[in-house]
Assembly symmetry: C2
């Protein structure tokens, strides 16, 4: 049975440790996903519509981490997988953390270390 036929495994933020939350939010690619998701309405963005400098394998990995940490919710719609930011739930569990992430200016993920 594939992940598409069975219902997706979600984790509620209340079950998430601070360690896992910080790990999830500690990756710049995942923060970019969260910011882009916060700028769109719920269930309007599929995984492939995000502007990320990684392959789809890595992308899929990051979305799985965000889901297992209670940061996003996912739902299948045809061949696409739509996303929603679980902002109120996560805010209740970790007040202020998501605000810091969303307030961060969009960094250019391609330029790792601009040493000339």
């Amino acid at each position: 049975m594939s992940a598409r036929t069975r219902s997706l495994t979600h984790t509620h933020p209340t079950e998430v440790s601070l360690q896992d939350a910080l790990d999830a939010v500690g990756d710049p690619v995942r923060r970019a996903i969260l910011r882009e998701l916060a700028g769109s309405a719920d269930w309007t963005r599929a995984c492939g519509t995000f502007d990320l400098p990684v392959t789809k394998a890595t992308r899929s990995h990051h979305f799985a981490v965000l889901r297992s940490t209670g940061l996003i919710e996912q739902r299948d719609e045809g061949s696409r997988r739509l996303n929603r930011l679980r902002r109120p739930e996560f805010d209740r569990r970790f007040p202020g953390l998501l605000d810091l992430v969303l307030a961060e200016p969009a960094t250019d993920l391609c330029l790792g270390d601009p040493t000339p």
Copy 2:
């Protein structure tokens, strides 16, 4: 010249990126230091007085990270190095982040993965 004779290099929280802040706070040993420090008055705790399951080399490394991230301030007093949590400064730069760390229940750092 040793680090004890010259004045210590400090970083103000305003110069710290969110990435560096999350990295600093992402380590459980460093969070334990921050919690223990928050429970003591300023300039009353030397580096060696913390209950940590690591050698002094690792300990020294963690304190250096906390100092370079603007989370603590250090001052030499005789042969000991006293510490102070830069709570108001850090709170202004990253509101809520330190609160989450200090609210975290003290975890047993020795038991990494209690799989029997």
